[in-house]
Symmetry: C2
Subunit: 114 residues, 2 copies
C-alpha cells in the first residue's frame, strides 16, 4: 500500500497533469496552475511535488523529444498512472460524500466576523 492520501498541492498538480495531457512538464504545470487555479507557485514547488508523486507511483515520466522552439533543453513529460487515477477519483468521491453530508455548506451566509 502506498500512501493513503494526497496532500492538497499534490492533488492539484496531479489534476493539472491530467489536464495537460501530452504536454505535462514542469513549467507547463506551473503555468496551468496559474491559469486554472489562479495561483502563483514557484518552479521549485512544482518539481518537488512531481518528484514525490513519481516516487509514490502516481505519475511516470519520460524525456520528451527536442523542442521546436528557440532553445531549451528537453522536457521531462509526466503522465498519470492507473494508481494515480485511482487515488484522484477516490479523493474526489470521498470529499463529495462528505460535502453531501453537510447541506448547510451549500447555503451558508458569509458575514463579517471571523
Amino acid at each position: 500500500m502506498g500512501k493513503e492520501h494526497l496532500g492538497e498541492f499534490e492533488e492539484l498538480v496531479l489534476l493539472m497533469i491530467v489536464l495537460l495531457k501530452e504536454d505535462a512538464y514542469g513549467l507547463a504545470i506551473r503555468h496551468a496552475i496559474k491559469e486554472h487555479a489562479n495561483r502563483k507557485v514557484t518552479i521549485g514547488a512544482v518539481h518537488g511535488t512531481v518528484n514525490r508523486l513519481e516516487k509514490k507511483g502516481f505519475i511516470e515520466s519520460q524525456l520528451g523529444g527536442g523542442s521546436e522552439l528557440r532553445g531549451g533543453r528537453r522536457k521531462r513529460l509526466f503522465t498519470i498512472t492507473n494508481s494515480g487515477k485511482s487515488i484522484l477519483e477516490k479523493s474526489r468521491d470521498e470529499k463529495m460524500a462528505l460535502w453531501g453530508k453537510i447541506p448547510e455548506l451549500s447555503i451558508l451566509k458569509i458575514g463579517g466576523q471571523g
Copy 2:
C-alpha cells in the same frame, strides 16, 4: 489576508467540526473522522490541527460545561467562524471547477498497472 489554502487534513477536520455542530471537541472529531471518512488518526493529530485552525481564525473554541457522564474533564468545543466557512466553500468550489474541466476523470477505467 490569512493563509490561502487549507491542508488536506485541515479541511477534513474543519468539515467534521461543521458536521458535529454543538459537540465538536477533540475526541468527537477523531471519532467522526473514523465514522465518516473511515480513517484512523491519533488524538495528537487532531489537536495539533485544531490548534492551527484556531490560530488562523477558521475556528473558535470555548470551554464546555461539565459532562453528564461518568468522568472526564471539560470539553474544548470548537465552532467554525465565518472565515472558516468561507475558505471551506472556496476550497470546494475551486476543486469542483477543476474537476469539471476533466471529464475523463468521470469515466476512467481503472486497470492493473501503476
